[in-house]
């Protein structure tokens, strides 16, 4: 089955008692409406949208932390509403959140990473193997005996990712994992995510407010007011700068520069997203 996650007419409404999350002004209004989204195994999907557009809610529906109010979420063909398979669903989809300090439970680093496999009842020898593999995958193996509170923000977030990887998930969903990080911490986390996707074949769903982080994704999903309004390659999405502005979003600085130059009559493509591609596109317009 090539589809890892599939939603069918997915609708979600927070009950009054659960409301109050950032950007959920009305308790009764549905946060998600008729979402039909397919995420294929092994792909890197980025999700953007204004605050309150339903991105984080969607992430929590992917692994059954939240359950649909209407419609379905299937993970590897399993309905998240089916209690008999919900543990299998959670084993396949790991979640990483914004604040690394809220996700680290144990010290030193390697004990923290072992926490989830221990709870899954994995035999000790295999736990050792999984922890080592996970720490190597995020580039934190050398710091395995460190206390987490002594690490930088980027390092802590990589430990949180290692903790998820140790469960051997098929997919990692990251909800604004770089919002609290400095530029290099941000780069460390993004490089790690890209490597996990390219080298380990882990499906990645990256929710972010930073358009530059979406450039390498296979698909870019744009959400607005609980609906999916665009779902295409990053190049195709960022070509529509005006539409994104209407939605309270923006384009990466590279694309913004290319759009600006085009407006002044310079014949450059607007879909050169990376720094090198953008520089080359501009360079070519000079005789």
């Amino acid at each position: 089955m090539p589809n890892l996650i599939q939603t069918q007419n997915l609708t979600f409404t927070y009950h009054a008692a659960e409301s109050g999350a950032l950007g959920t002004p009305s308790a009764a209004a549905p946060v998600l409406r008729e979402i039909n989204l397919t995420i294929q195994r092994g792909t890197f999907v980025a999700v953007v949208g204004a605050n309150g557009s339903g991105k984080s809610t969607l992430a929590k529906l992917f692994n059954g932390i939240l359950l649909p109010s209407g419609g379905k979420v299937y993970v590897d063909g399993m309905d998240t509403l089916d209690e008999a398979t919900i543990l299998e669903v959670r084993r396949r989809i790991g979640l990483v959140f914004q604040n690394p300090d809220n996700q680290i439970v144990s010290t030193p680093v390697e004990d923290d990473v072992a926490f989830a496999p221990e709870n899954l009842g994995v035999p000790p020898a295999e736990i050792r193997q999984r922890v080592d593999d996970a720490l190597k995958a995020v580039g934190m193996y050398d710091l395995r005996r460190h206390a987490p509170h002594l690490l930088s923000g980027g390092q802590k977030q990589r430990v949180a990712i290692a903790g998820v990887i140790a469960m051997r998930p098929e997919c990692i969903v990251l909800d604004e994992p770089t919002a609290m990080l400095d530029p290099i911490g941000r780069r460390e986390v993004l490089d790690t995510v890209r490597r996990l996707n390219a080298e380990h074949g882990i499906t990645i769903v990256l929710i972010t407010h930073h358009m530059s982080e979406c450039i390498d994704a296979d698909h870019l999903v744009v959400m607005s007011e609980g609906e999916i309004v665009m779902d295409d390659t990053p190049k195709a999405v960022f070509t529509q700068a005006d539409r994104l502005t209407e939605l309270g979003l923006t384009v990466p600085p590279t694309t913004a520069l290319l759009h600006e130059l085009r407006k002044s009559g310079v014949d450059v493509p607007v879909d050169a997203l990376t720094i090198n591609a953008c520089a080359e596109a501009i360079y070519k317009t000079f005789p």
Binding site: N51, Q98, G154, M211, T254, E260, G265, I282, Y283
Partner: protein
């Protein structure tokens, strides 16, 4: 000099196994009306430094001067400085608590012992500066969007008419429109009041657009300070400190390396577009 620290050192948990010196021998200064961008990796001491500037943290050694006076000279001095130096923490919307936005913004001025008429005038002024409409003032802060909540919290500090406004990561976790609205509010406040603004952020783009002077912290010390040109010219050193130059600056650096005769002071999309058009002979500054 409006605010100044002399040989400022702060050690947390002195005499315990967790003893840690967060800042060491810091000589920081800010003039009246200046906008300072304070950058540095996570854990570099930025937050510790700014909490000294309004007397929230007492120095372990060294002195903080406001308007030439040691802010810890007496209890009265410290108290007075708290009203003159306004500090907006990270995620300040978590501190909203009143029934209406208006009452929340009025909380600070009320604590200053101002009369009712003056409080109302301050609330109106601060709301306008922060970009909040009159209709929003009568709503519950919890009914606002993420960006509006953040602006309401910032307005609460602006309403005290501080001579120095310090903001710690004011745009973290917001969508692009929300970030723009916050940054416009900060620039409007600066323009209309001529207060000193100290902006702590991980976004080099925001710094490039807003700051007159950049102060770089690294491992508890001031590692660099200067204009945008001076600081962003040292990109290799910034990288080594967990920081970076704006993305558009990297595009311009790449183009220069390819042989285009672009100026070195390119930090925003508009500057880059103008410089490229000028080089083509079609720009506004073409000779």
């Amino acid at each position: 000099m409006l605010i100044r620290t002399q040989n400022l050192t702060h050690t947390y948990s002195v005499g315990t196994p967790f003893e840690r010196t967060a800042i060491r021998g810091v000589d920081f200064h800010a003039q009246k009306g200046e906008v300072i961008g304070l950058i540095g990796h996570t854990g570099s001491g930025k937050s510790t430094l700014i909490q000294h500037l309004n007397g929230l943290l007492p120095p372990t050694s060294g002195t903080v001067f406001f308007d030439g006076e040691d802010i810890h000279a007496s209890k009265q001095t410290t108290k007075r400085v708290r009203f003159r130096v306004g500090l907006v923490f990270q995620y300040p919307e978590y501190q909203l608590f009143e029934e209406t936005v208006e009452r929340d913004i009025a909380f600070g001025p009320k604590n200053m012992g101002l009369d009712t008429g003056e409080i109302a005038a301050r609330v109106e002024e601060a709301a306008a500066l922060a970009g909040l409409t009159k209709e929003l003032l009568q709503q519950s802060p919890f009914a606002l969007s993420g960006g509006q909540k953040r602006r309401a919290a910032i307005a609460g500090v602006m309403a005290m008419r501080p001579e120095v406004l310090i903001l710690d990561e004011p745009t973290a976790g917001l969508d692009p429109r929300g970030r723009d609205e916050i940054m416009s509010g900060i620039r409007r406040f600066h323009r209309e009041t001529d207060a000193t603004v100290i902006l702590v952020t991980h976004s080099m783009e925001e710094i490039a657009r807003t700051a007159d002077r950049i102060v770089v912290m690294n491992d508890g010390e001031i590692a660099m300070q200067g204009t945008r040109n001076e600081v962003f010219a040292r990109s290799a050193e910034l990288n080594a400190m967990g920081l970076d130059v704006p993305e558009i600056t990297r595009v311009a650096m790449r183009l220069r390396a390819m042989g285009l005769d672009l100026p070195e002071n390119i930090f925003t999309v508009e500057q880059a577009a103008r410089a490229i058009l000028t080089l083509k002979g079609g720009g506004p500054n073409a000779s």
